[in-house]
Symmetry: C2
Subunit: 224 residues, 2 copies
DNA sequence: ACCTGAACACCGTTCAAGT
DNA sequence: ACCTGAACACCGTTCAAGT
């Protein structure tokens, strides 16, 4: 058992600590996200993972929000292209559904995407795809541009809401109860529509929402 | 200077500590929100404000998210009725704009509203108002019910996004730069529409968004 | 039942000091 | 320039013990 005095012991014990880099940090963040969810993707936790102190990460990442945005862009890259069959409307809905499905798996990421808009390469490509499809459908460019924003916002907000944690379930129960207890004297429409307000499986409502939005975007001119 | 031994000194030093109650906690939370914003509305801070320990609050409030939802419902009560003039569309937009304006003053509240749906009395009344206006416009009830959800979601998401803190501004700058650097070879639509994507003052875009959404809701039938 | 002190198990971010 | 230890200033929530 020979010691090699030219390399300190600590350097040989583990697979060699890789140099820090933005990519490395984001990759570690994605790994932690996949394994334990976004709430665990913290500066401190990542520092631990990368065998350093939290302060070191601030050389590469401005803050936690920016880190989360980078993680989202990374995941956006996993969506992949959707089949080219069908009408532009069908393909548009398919892209949006793929986007939403990805966010449904990481609702907390959807939550953070609403605040810290991503601006990475995969996000830009997604926008390009949506613009292309709207153009194919003959939607005037200005309407398409503003519309893309709404479509992504709706998809993101829906995913953020449907985070299926316990707390959210309780919220929903509370709302259900409140809706059914409402007086038809003071809230006639609410009383009449209580069940409809809560009806529809998420995919069905989501699909209806996309169709309604697309129709509205198609038919509403942008002011000069 | 006579001591009154039947009342402990500590009880006389301050205006008399009021008994804890859900209403008292929510009222204190609203006060802190108004003075310092939602991030300061924490269990610990409220406990301090109410001269007790954080653990005591858990008798009346399930957790921080529920507290924030209660605060939102309270603020919803301050919106007040909107003038009855104009078409149903105009009045609908006015209600939604009032809702959004309130949330714009408390963007962090909008953020939390996307996750923890409120179910308080003021929220129910807001839904009733929206349903009434859609009914007046002849929108079929089922479409109105699902549509209300989308309208509120859009309003809330927009407010959440436009939180004007520093970080958000930086995000926006980053996105602007990214959009203008994009290659028109790989992203032709994006390159052509970069300016349009970013154009429009928030109130103008918001208004366009509501109109597009209302039109879509009007014209899209709910599946059986 | 209601209330509490204390503890557990964490956070983000900054800064002075080192290499 | 890059990296770091240590510190600052906080969090939410639970639990055993008290009234």
């Amino acid at each position: 058992m020979t010691d090699r005095p030219d390399i300190p012991r600590s350097r040989r014990e583990r697979p060699a600590k890789p140099a820090l880099s933005r990519e490395g940090i984001v990759a570690a963040a994605v790994a932690v996200l996949r394994a334990e969810g976004l709430p665990k993707v913290t500066m401190r936790r990542l520092a631990q993972e990368l065998d350093t102190g939290p302060a070191s990460l601030y050389v590469y990442v401005r803050n936690t929000a920016e880190l989360h945005a980078a993680v989202l862009d990374e995941l956006l890259g996993t969506i992949g292209p959707v089949p080219a069959e069908g009408t532009w409307r069908e393909r548009l809905e398919r892209v949006l559904t793929a986007y939403t499905a990805m966010l449904f798996e990481h609702p907390s990421l959807a939550r953070s995407a609403l605040t810290a808009r991503p601006s990475g390469p995969h996000y830009l490509t997604l926008i390009e795809t949506l613009l292309t499809l709207l153009d194919e459908g003959g939607v005037p460019p200005a309407q398409a541009a503003w519309g893309v924003d709404m479509l992504l916002q709706q998809a993101t907000a829906t995913a953020a809401e449907h985070s299926a944690d316990e707390a959210t379930q309780e919220d929903w129960d509370t709302l259900t109860r409140a809706l059914h207890e409402v007086s038809d004297q003071t809230h006639p429409h609410l009383a009449a529509l209580a069940d409809t307000l809560l009806s529809g499986a998420p995919p069905v409502r989501q699909s209806w929402g996309f169709q309604a939005l697309i129709t509205g975007i198609e038919r509403t001119a942008v002011p000069d």
